[in-house]
């Protein structure tokens, strides 16, 4: 990559930040340059973020239909999945899966609920409810 090939596509995800890339000057010597983003990178970043958003939207519907506990929504809203949430709380994956059931989650003991409070940095009340629709 040459200096004049360093992309300046003003990625909105960067929120005004720029990142440093390595590129060569006219004499072929390596130097660094600031990039405001690359469209190709934006595409894949949006894809990854949108995948979690989609899961969160679908989870919201399931919660509203009484098929899932609010925990499922919060999990995806925090860009987690069952594996990551299990690791973050110290539960087994099967336990997290059980807690996604509304009836089980409703009767969760305070000690267990607290592990979710810590993992999400939320209060018990916030955990038991859905936030207003963000879409």
């Amino acid at each position: 990559m040459k200096l004049d090939e360093v992309p300046q596509d003003d990625s909105k995800s960067f929120e005004g930040q720029r990142k440093r890339l390595y590129a060569r000057n006219a004499d072929g010597e390596y130097t660094t340059a600031l990039s405001s983003g690359w469209e190709a990178e934006d595409v894949v970043l949006d894809q990854a973020v949108e995948e979690y958003n989609r899961f969160a939207r679908e989870a919201r519907q399931r919660v509203q239909q009484g098929l899932s506990s609010p925990l499922e929504y919060h999990m995806y809203a925090h860009r987690m999945d069952i594996t990551v949430l299990a690791q973050a709380t110290g539960f087994f994956r099967w336990q997290v899966k059980r807690h996604l059931k509304p009836a089980v989650f409703r009767h969760l003991k305070p000690g267990k609920l607290q592990r979710y409070e810590e993992a999400f940095q939320m209060t018990a009340d916030q955990l038991r409810t859905l936030p207003p629709d963000d879409q």
């Binding site: 990559m1 890339l21 390596y30 600031l34 990178e41 595409v43 990854a48 925090h78 973050a88 940095q121």
Partner: protein, 330 residues
């Protein structure tokens, strides 16, 4: 307050290590730190999943740069981890009060100064804390243009997340930097180590063989799973470009290291190898471009074309590592 010379780098770990060494009187460039620790790699490990995607790495696992450099140059690093978050915060405050900047490991997701779209559950981000003002830590995060700040509650949270690569409040700093560093000895060892690993690792999913392995995998993707396949391709490009790589999955960083080494060792062969890895890096970028166009629907999803591009890269890299070994550096 401690003066700290913040310099933005491409990658967090090589940047944090270079910054700490510079603060202690040893000035090494980021590419030199990256190259000397033999951090370049290619690994595709479908058994280990991250967010439902196979582990794909263009560099060695987190921690390797600190330990690799430490071994190569004989610089001892002090490492401290903590069971209790409060202990970790107290220890950090003690170092800062005494005027010692220290390296920290933290989760990207919980660092308050990260842009929203950049926040993922990656727990092995590196940064340097160099002071405290009121409740704010003063942070030199190598991937940011300017120094940043984080409140104590937020930083403690980011340093003590649980899960894969849990930081456990890791604090690190170099213990001694006044020992003479012999780059003339260290560079050849580092280069040979990387070239041998990329060419001769007896596992089909590591090194140049790994790139070809993924090319074959790409060709065999079933068109019926288009959504999943697209996520996989996007994941590949993200790992290659986004996570503090300096572009092209660290290949430009490595080429820059080779070029700097060519000057130090006065070796034209290394300068030629630097050109080869620059070309390979450009082909990695082309792969990202093809992939992004296909994901956006601006060109048809063509697994074969992507696989062929990966093979082009594999051939070029293979050539590069062979050139490096043929130089017979010692």
């Amino acid at each position: 307050m401690t003066d700290f010379d913040h310099q933005q780098t491409a990658h967090c770990e090589s940047g944090a290590v270079a910054a700490l060494l510079r603060h202690n009187g040893l000035d090494l460039s980021e590419p030199m730190v990256f190259g000397l620790s033999s951090a370049l790699t290619y690994a595709y490990i479908p058994l280990v999943k991250m967010g439902g995607m196979p582990l794909l790495a263009y560099r060695m696992p987190p921690g390797r740069i600190i330990r690799g450099l430490s071994k190569r140059l004989g610089i001892r690093f002090h490492f401290e981890r903590f069971r209790k978050p409060a202990d970790g915060t107290a220890a950090l405050d003690r170092y800062l009060e005494q005027g010692y900047p220290v390296g920290l490991q933290a989760s990207v997701y919980w660092l308050p100064y990260f842009p929203e779209n950049m926040r993922f559950h990656f727990n092995a981000h590196n940064l340097v804390a160099y002071g405290k003002e009121g409740d704010d830590y003063l942070i030199s995060d190598p991937t940011f243009e300017q120094p940043v700040r984080a409140e104590s509650v937020a930083l403690q949270r980011a340093r003590f997340v649980k899960g894969m690569l849990a930081p456990k409040g890791l604090i690190y700093y170099p213990e001694s930097t006044d020992i003479p560093t012999d780059l003339h000895q260290a560079i050849p060892k580092a280069i040979n180590s990387t070239a041998r690993m990329m060419l001769r690792t007896p596992l089909p999913f590591i090194g140049v063989r790994g790139i070809r392995h993924v090319a074959r995998h790409m060709e065999k993707l079933s068109p019926a799973n288009e959504h999943h396949n697209k996520l996989l391709i996007g994941h590949m490009v993200r790992m290659q470009e986004e996570i503090g790589t300096g572009g092209a999955g660290f290949r430009f960083l490595f080429a820059s290291f080779l070029q700097e080494s060519a000057g130090i060792l006065n070796n034209d062969g290394l300068a030629k190898a630097a050109d080869q890895f620059t070309d390979a890096g450009d082909e990695w970028r082309r792969f990202a471009l093809y992939a992004a166009k296909m994901l956006k629907g601006r060109s048809t999803l063509d697994y074969r074309k992507l696989a062929d591009q990966l093979r082009t890269v594999a051939d070029m890299e293979q050539e590069g590592y062979r050139t490096l070994l043929a130089l017979d550096l010692r």
